[in-house]
């Protein structure tokens, strides 16, 4: 069964600083997702990474995928307060005919002035 871990679980960072959130997964997953959740809200898709070496960027966030290491990273550049949220990664557990999406525990990010 696919297990997804994230590190760190809690992150407090100053505005303007850079940081990376790590996502490790236990078995083969042919795609990796990143989602954002604001307090009391639903989840919003950030990135879908489909292949080894995939890199996607949106504003101050950049996600990458290394399928050989079973590792994805979410890099935050020059953090701003609006990025404060919980970030989830998720992998795709493949079954014989269809697959299911399994989430990690989330990283709660607080960006402080």
């Amino acid at each position: 069964e696919l297990k997804v871990e994230q590190n760190p679980l809690f992150l407090s960072m100053q505005e303007g600083k850079n940081y990376t959130i790590y996502c490790n997964y236990s078995t083969t997953s042919d795609r990796l997702y990143w989602y954002r959740q604001d307090p009391g809200k639903s989840l919003e898709s950030l990135f879908v990474l489909l292949s080894n070496g995939a890199v996607k960027q949106e504003g101050r966030l950049m996600a990458s995928l290394d399928t050989k290491a079973r590792l994805s990273t979410l890099h935050i550049t020059a953090a701003v307060h609006d990025l404060s949220a919980t970030y989830f990664c998720a992998g795709n557990e493949q079954k014989t005919s269809y697959d299911k999406v399994i989430f990690g525990p989330g990283t709660s990010l607080s960006v402080i002035p």
Binding site: V101, F103, S108
Partner: protein, 113 residues
């Protein structure tokens, strides 16, 4: 475009009561999912479906039942509610063609007292 619609948004149940959480999507998606999110935690997959008439268990299916009679609807049934089922429940859908993101509903906050 409504996307994924969940009802109700809030509900309080007494121990032993039953209820159905409704989820409907208007995007003609094949895949639908039910997740639960406990306070400060990640999402756990309860059940999922890859099309009308096809459902499968996720990580935490005990105490729940689902059905998928149409492409649009994927209700989640709680029988004999227990305090351990106090959680926020999210329904999600995707088109299942590969590489696609999940679209989430706004969630149902359920308390069992």
């Amino acid at each position: 475009n409504a996307g994924v619609t969940q009802t109700p948004k809030f509900r309080i149940l007494k121990i032993g009561q039953s209820m159905t959480l409704q989820c409907t999507q208007d995007m003609n998606h094949n895949y639908m999912y039910w997740y639960r999110q406990d306070p400060g935690m990640g999402l756990k997959l309860i059940y999922y479906s890859v099309g009308a008439g096809i459902t499968d268990k996720g990580e935490v299916p005990n105490g729940y039942n689902v059905s998928r009679s149409t492409t649009e609807d994927f209700p989640l049934r709680l029988e004999l509610a227990a305090p351990s089922q106090t959680s926020v429940y999210f329904c999600a859908s995707s088109d299942g063609t590969g590489g696609e993101k999940l679209f989430f509903g706004s969630g149902t906050q359920l308390s069992v007292l």
